[in-house]
Each structure stands twice: as structure tokens, then as C-alpha cells.
């Protein structure tokens, strides 16, 4: 069987080379000795350690800025002591919860594309549940409810009539049904109160009639005046971070750039499994952190809304 030349099971490859490599790694950690050119990195003549500090990616470089004390300094932090007695050891342990590595050695800090703790910009989330469907470990739980906004229930002549949203194609619609839930016993009936509305999605609007596909099944053309616009509201967005394997599929699934794997590695511990169930508030990424994303999403939605209103205005004039 042909071997790779370095896989030949001979004395050189099985004993001499590994032992020399191990010794080299050990010698490199010793000040003065470690900077000898015999121990240089492969193909270079510079000392293996004690090189210029270079940030791991552009994001880190931008984050720490030009004025950071480590910029342009030698990467020698854990190798050198005083000039007279260089062989005495210094502390190299970062006492993590109290100290953080990124404060001490920012060039070693977590890169921006590291999949860390989950963060969600709830302000731009539309509750489409693409992330929930994408999650292979089913650690995302999102409960939503289709509701009718109280402003949309006003009738002709009410004070706030016309202040709500309008029926639109692709949106949700609700129709008040004939269900009488007045004698529903909240105390003894162990079931939810029957809905006063039938919900469906609006397929088409032509003139005064709207085509609606009801959630219960069936397509129907109904007068638009009978319908009230409905919306999907997030009841809870819980993430079981204890089951998460940080694959990032949820982030890739999100069509609105609301879902992020941050590069933060801490704050994911707890004293029980329940502590690892993150409610929406613990996954919140403040808009200030991802201002660009939020702004972009808001602009997109504002433009959409503007166009819609212009269309409605044009229709009213026609």
C-alpha cells in the first residue's frame, strides 16, 4: 500500500520527528531560547512567539480602534518578564468571571462569525417561525396568536373609526362569527373560550369583495365590509439554550435579519435546566447594538407602507 512519505511507519517518522516537534514547542515557550532561529515558524526566520500583535479579524480591529494600547505592540504578553530574570514565571491565567480575555488580549478575542449566544431583534420579528421550523434540536419555542386589533373593530361613526389598519392582500382577515360564548363557564369548562372571529388569509381583493382562505378550511368570497384586518402577535418566544448546539440554522433561516448568533460566549450558565430556558427578554438584542440592521428593516417596512398608502390614495381618487 502506498504511504504518504510522512506516514511511513519508520523510526524517523514515528519517533524522531514527533519528539523534535514536541521539544520545539516546549523550547519556544522559554524566553530568549524561544526566539532562536532554529525554533522559528516553518518557512520564516522570525521568532515563533513575540510577533506583532495582529487582530484576528477586521471587526475586532475596528472594535478596539487605533488607540488601543495593544496596537503595534509585540505579541509577548505571556512570554516575557523583567529583563534581568526572564525565567521567572508570571501569571498567565485569566480569572474569567472577574477578568475577561478580550480586555487583556483583544487580538485573541472571539471572531465576529463565532456562533455564540442567540440574540433576537424582537422589534423586527414578524413571527414567521422560519427559525422554529429550521431548528433541528427543537429548542426554539414560539407561541403566536392571531388577533384582531381593537382599533380595527370600530364601526362607522365611532370616534376612532379609520385609525386602524386596512385589509390587504397577503394579510390576515377576521370575520365575526355567530358563536355565542356568553354562557361559557370560565370556572368549570376546562377549555378555551370559543373565538368570536373566524380567521383566514386574504388571497385577493377586487372592488368590494375579498377572497379569503379560512384557517378552518375552504375558500370564500366575502364582502370586504364584513372583514376586519387581523394580525399575528408573539405570545412568547422561548429558547432552550441547553438544547442548542449553536449550528446557526435559525439565523440562516430568518428572512428579516432579526435572528443572530452573537459572538458572546458567556451568560449561558445557570443552576438548573430551567435557568437555561431563555424567555424573549434574555435573547433581546438592543437596537442600539444592531442599529444598522434595525434601521434597514424599518426603512424597508416604511417604504412598503408608503407605497401601500399611495396605492390606496390613487384608488380612492379613481
Amino acid at each position: 500500500m502506498p504511504f504518504h512519505p510522512h506516514a511511513q511507519p519508520n523510526f524517523r517518522n514515528m519517533v524522531i520527528r514527533p519528539m523534535w516537534m514536541a521539544l520545539k514547542a516546549a523550547l519556544r515557550t522559554i524566553p530568549y531560547v524561544g526566539s532562536h532561529k532554529l525554533l522559528a515558524a516553518h518557512g520564516t526566520s522570525a521568532p515563533y512567539h513575540a510577533q506583532e500583535a495582529q487582530m484576528i479579524d477586521e471587526g475586532t480591529a475596528a472594535r478596539i480602534g487605533e488607540d488601543h494600547p495593544s496596537v503595534g505592540k509585540r505579541y509577548a504578553v505571556d512570554r516575557e518578564t523583567s529583563s534581568l530574570v526572564p525565567y521567572l514565571e508570571r501569571p498567565v491565567t485569566v480569572m474569567y468571571p472577574y477578568e475577561r480575555l478580550e480586555d487583556l488580549e483583544p487580538w485573541l478575542f472571539v471572531p465576529g462569525n463565532y456562533n455564540g449566544r442567540i440574540g433576537v431583534i424582537w422589534e423586527t420579528c414578524t413571527a414567521c417561525k422560519a427559525c422554529v421550523k429550521a431548528c433541528p434540536n427543537s429548542c426554539l419555542h414560539m407561541e403566536t396568536e392571531t388577533r384582531v386589533n381593537v382599533l380595527d373593530t370600530t364601526e362607522e361613526g365611532d370616534e376612532w373609526h379609520g385609525m386602524g389598519t386596512e385589509l390587504e392582500v397577503g394579510g390576515m382577515a377576521a370575520r365575526r362569527n355567530e358563536v355565542d360564548n356568553s354562557d361559557h363557564n370560565l370556572i368549570l369548562d376546562h377549555s378555551a373560550v370559543p373565538q368570536e372571529y373566524d380567521f383566514g388569509s386574504v388571497i385577493d381583493i377586487t372592488g368590494e369583495t375579498a377572497t379569503v382562505r379560512w384557517d378552518g378550511g375552504g375558500m370564500e368570497e366575502v364582502p370586504a365590509a364584513d372583514l376586519a384586518p387581523a394580525e399575528v402577535d408573539i405570545m412568547s418566544g422561548r429558547i432552550d439554550i441547553g438544547r442548542c448546539m449553536f449550528c446557526g440554522l435559525c439565523m440562516e433561516a430568518c428572512p428579516f435579519e432579526s435572528f443572530f448568533m452573537t459572538n458572546e460566549y458567556d451568560g449561558m450558565s445557570g443552576y438548573s435546566r430551567e435557568d437555561l430556558w431563555y424567555e424573549a427578554d434574555r435573547t433581546r438584542v438592543l437596537p442600539s447594538v444592531h442599529q444598522e440592521r434595525v434601521d434597514a428593516e424599518l426603512v424597508k417596512r416604511a417604504e412598503k407602507e408608503l407605497k401601500k398608502r399611495e396605492r390606496a390614495k390613487a384608488r380612492a381618487e379613481a
Binding site: 519508520n10 524517523r12 519517533v15 519528539m19 514536541a22 505592540k73 523583567s82 508570571r90 480569572m95 472577574y98
Partner: protein, 517 residues
């Protein structure tokens, strides 16, 4: 060079004096000598045991720290240094609370250390990294205290015997291992007059006791009634048997070349004949090293406890202090192996180039005078910007280092090599271990024995070795080593074929551009 630490003589004189002053004054005065010798032997045994147990901490330190350097992932190195450095600009000040100003020398030393090895650095990054926050006194405890904590933990653990284990054997096995391991050190001399026991045939005694522990290992593996431990025990028995024989034949070659079966005489022979055994029997040294690594079951020969496949091998079912002591006995065996290598091959307690150095400083009085000068030089040198002044200081001190310290240094050096091997080499397969042992090491050890016979019978004429012979042997060994080290398959290098059969059926282009060529 003379061994000035004649500890056994000192103890003998002291006990003689005590015995004569006490028992000698009573009507049992004829037992005075007996009492004195009992006291002497007890003190010597305790001394040797305490020295071994105290200095074995160095092994743990080497295992942790040298290994960490090889892996370039040193962990907590703050503990001991924190005693003087302090954190975040706060220096330690516990010495100020000592009464009658007894803390003042400590304060002086502390300030000196802070000045010379403190937090300040020319590099700003270094400076910033070293300027840590002060997190309380618990972070300043030296790391060695962790050993005490571990010991306490083992002591307080529940002792569980598996339900279907052979309980008697299961209980007895650790004691066989531990006691036989500790007994090895009865026959290991720490210098020509610091030893616990010195029978005429101490080499045989010692190797016999060294060979008892494998029984305990096999008992432990068998009696646990667990497939992992059984496999580990069987592997261990096979491996130890296979390597015990080359080891004993190699040691026999030492006895042959020294003309003695007494360890101290083997050691002294290297000193009187002027050549360490490693230069006469380099093959024997290599064999001894390899077989000893196999005997103490360290990587690459740790198949019996291959943790990736056998949980923890033959000691899987043990817990608590029995496990702790067996783990300690692993290290004790390892320490014994290192000490034996140093004694058998590295000139035991002889200082390297000791004769040359004593030639430079021939007079003991001169040495004592030079110590004084050296201390002053050390003080000046530490204070000055020119540490070159320190250069003669080690030379002065080196000549008064006691022989025991040399032996321990050599043993620690050997352990560093053990750690180096462990960090570098792969664990090899059980059948490869056995094949290597039976088909290579056993014949080679016989060759080594033949070389020893030849050297002793034809070359050695009494007195000192002719320096040409060890020089020639060492040169041949080095050349053989280099030839083996250059062993490279040129045809494989030229072929550049990939390892294993990973070709797909239709090879296809390696890259999109391949079509163009």
C-alpha cells in the same frame, strides 16, 4: 570527589551517643549497640522514605509544567508567585503582622523580588496583562495545596466493592501493588551512604520486588469482574511479562560489566572506573529506558489503561483512597525507574565532570572560602545590571551540591524525558507492543549482554577504562541513531501517492482549471 554528606555516619554517631548515654548506663548495656543500630536503621529508612515522598512532588510538577510547555498551553502559573507579587498593585503584606519585626527580612526579600520579577515590564501589553485585579486571598494559595485537597477528597470517599467482584482478591490487590512499590525504595540508594537497606544481592531483591506489582495488577483486573478491567489486566500481564525479560537481561549486563549484584557497587564502579555506563552500553540504556516505560505503563505503552477504549483499564472499578494510592504507586514506580536509570547509567550520584571541577578547586577549605565570595558575588550580581558577574557563582556552588541532589537531578531529568516521550508518541497497539518486546527487545538485550561480557572480559584490565573504547562505542551509537533518524522512503517521496485507497472511480478534474491543461 569526596562525598561530604556522610549522613549514615552522622546518624550512626548520634545514635551511638544516645544509646551509650541511655541504655549504656543501665544493666542492659550490652544491648547498647543493638539499640543504636535499630535507631540508625529506622532513621535511615524514614529519611529515605521522606526524601522520596517529598521529592516526588517534583515529578508532578514536571508532569504538569513541562507537559504544558510542550503543548504550549500553560495553565495557572500564578499561585506561588502571588505570594510575593500581589495583584493589582496590592502587594502581599502578611509579613508585617509578624511579631518583633521578624517580617522585615521577608519584606526586604519581597521588595527585591517585586523589583526584579514583579509586575512592571517594558512592554505595555505585558504590563497591562500583569496588572490584575485583586480578588481576595484565596487566589493566592500555592497550587500544591490542591494535592492536599485531593488527598482529603479521596480519604472521605465511599469505598465501594462491585457486587459480583471477588471481594477478597479485590481488597488485597491494591495492597500488593502499593506495598511492593514502596518496598522498591528500600533498595535504592540515594548516595553511597544514604540508603535504607543494602544486602549483598540488592539488585536481585529489588528486581524481584519490582516484578511483584504486575501480579497485583492482574489480580485487580480479574477480581473486578468487569470486562474492561479484565482486558486491561490481561494486556498488562502480557505486556509486563514480555518486557520484564529484556529488562532483567539488560540489568544482568550491568551486573556483568560491574562485576557485582549490589546496586551501590554498580554505582560506585562507574565512579571508580571513570566512565558512566551509558557510554559503554548505549544499547543497554535504550533498552532499559524502553522496557521501563513499558513496565510503568506510560505512553506509548499504556495499552493496559487505554482510556479511550477501556475506561481506565484494570483499575476502573477502584475508587477513593485505594485508587489514589494506586495512582501514587504508578508515580512511585516511575520515580523508581528514573532513579534506577540514573544509578545504572548516568553515574548515580557523581557530579558530571566532577573530577575536572575538583581539579580546579582542589582544596575543601578553598571551596568554603569560595562560597563566601560567591554569596557576596550573588548579592552584587542580583543588584547590578550585569548578571555576567553571576557566572562563577554556580561553579562554586556546584562543587558542594550533595551527591543525593545530583542523583535526584538526574532522576528528574529522566522523568522529563518520560514526559517528553508521553507528549510525543502514539499509544501503540497491543500486538505491536508484544511483537516489539519479543522479537526486537529480547534479541537486542542478548546482544547487549554479549557486549557487556566482551567489555568486561576483554577490555577492562582493572582500574579505569581506556577512554578510547567508550568514545568509540558512543560514536558508533550516535552514527546508528543518525542513520535510523534519516530513514526515509525516497520512492514514496517521489511517488507522492495519497495514503490509503481514497481514489474515486473516475478521478475527474482536481480543480476547474485542470481542463485547460
Amino acid at each position: 570527589m569526596e562525598d561530604w554528606v556522610v549522613f549514615r555516619t552522622w546518624v550512626g554517631d548520634l545514635t551511638q551517643m544516645i544509646a551509650e548515654a541511655t541504655v549504656g548506663q543501665t544493666r542492659f548495656h550490652e544491648y547498647s549497640d543493638g539499640v543504636a543500630s535499630v535507631m540508625t536503621e529506622s532513621i535511615m529508612a524514614v529519611t529515605v522514605f521522606a526524601t522520596i515522598m517529598g521529592t516526588i512532588l517534583a515529578l508532578l510538577w514536571i508532569e504538569r509544567k513541562f507537559f504544558a510547555r510542550i503543548m504550549d498551553r500553560r495553565g495557572a502559573t500564578m499561585a506561588l508567585r502571588s505570594l510575593w507579587v500581589g495583584e493589582g498593585g496590592q502587594h502581599a503584606d502578611w509579613y508585617d503582622d509578624l511579631p518583633f519585626g521578624t517580617g522585615k527580612p521577608i519584606r526586604w526579600l519581597n521588595n527585591l523580588l517585586n523589583e526584579k520579577a514583579g509586575n512592571a515590564s517594558d512592554y505595555e501589553t505585558v504590563h497591562r496583562t500583569k496588572d490584575r485585579g485583586y480578588h481576595g486571598v484565596w487566589w493566592l494559595l500555592p497550587g500544591m495545596i490542591q494535592n492536599v485537597a485531593d488527598g482529603m477528597k479521596f480519604m472521605t470517599k465511599e469505598w465501594m466493592v462491585p457486587a459480583k467482584a471477588d471481594k477478597f482478591i479485590f481488597e488485597v490487590a491494591p495492597f500488593i501493588i502499593i506495598t511492593s512499590t514502596v518496598m522498591i525504595f528500600a533498595f535504592i540508594p540515594l548516595s553511597s551512604n544514604i540508603y535504607s537497606a543494602n544486602p549483598e544481592l540488592s539488585l536481585l531483591f529489588m528486581m524481584a520486588i519490582f516484578g511483584i506489582a504486575p501480579f497485583g495488577v492482574f489480580f485487580a483486573g480479574w477480581s473486578s469482574n468487569n470486562k474492561y478491567t479484565l482486558l486491561g489486566g490481561i494486556r498488562s500481564a502480557a505486556q509486563l511479562t514480555a518486557y520484564e525479560i529484556p529488562l532483567l537481561v539488560t540489568i544482568l549486563s550491568l551486573a556483568v560489566i560491574s562485576g557485582s549484584l549490589n546496586i551501590i557497587e554498580i554505582a560506585e564502579f562507574q565512579i571508580t572506573s571513570g566512565v558512566w555506563n551509558i557510554f559503554l552500553l548505549p544499547l543497554g540504556a535504550a533498552l532499559f529506558l524502553i522496557t521501563m516505560v513499558a513496565e510503568v505503563e506510560r505512553i506509548p505503552f499504556d495499552m493496559p489503561e487505554a482510556e479511550a477504549e477501556l475506561v481506565e483499564g484494570w483499575w476502573t472499578e477502584y475508587g477513593g483512597m485505594r485508587w489514589g494510592l494506586m495512582f501514587a504507586s504508578e508515580y512511585l514506580r516511575c520515580y523508581a525507574a528514573c532513579l534506577l536509570f540514573a544509578i545504572f547509567f548516568l553515574g548515580a550520584w557523581e557530579m558530571p565532570f566532577g573530577d575536572t571541577i575538583t581539579g580546579i578547586i582542589p582544596n575543601q577549605d578553598l571551596i568554603l572560602g569560595a562560597i563566601g565570595v560567591g554569596l557576596i558575588g550573588l548579592a552584587i550580581g542580583l543588584r547590578s545590571e550585569f548578571p555576567v558577574l553571576l557566572a562563577p557563582v554556580p561553579l562554586v556552588f556546584i562543587s558542594v551540591i550533595p551527591p543525593t541532589a545530583w542523583l535526584l537531578f538526574k532522576a528528574w531529568f529522566m522523568f522529563a524525558i518520560f514526559v517528553w516521550i508521553r507528549a510525543s508518541l502514539h499509544r501503540i497497539r497491543s500486538d505491536q507492543i508484544l511483537e516489539f518486546g519479543w522479537r526486537w527487545l529480547l534479541p537486542l538485550s542478548l546482544v547487549n549482554l554479549a557486549i557487556a561480557f566482551w567489555l568486561r572480559l576483554s577490555i577492562w584490565q582493572g582500574g579505569e577504562w581506556p577512554l578510547l573504547i567508550p568514545g568509540l562505542i558512543t560514536a558508533i551509537a550516535l552514527i546508528l541513531f543518525i542513520i535510523l533518524g534519516m530513514d526515509e522512503d525516497k520512492s514514496a517521496m517521489e511517488g507522492r501517492t495519497r495514503p490509503y485507497s481514497v481514489y474515486t472511480k473516475s478521478k475527474g478534474p482536481a480543480s476547474p482549471r485542470s481542463h485547460d491543461r
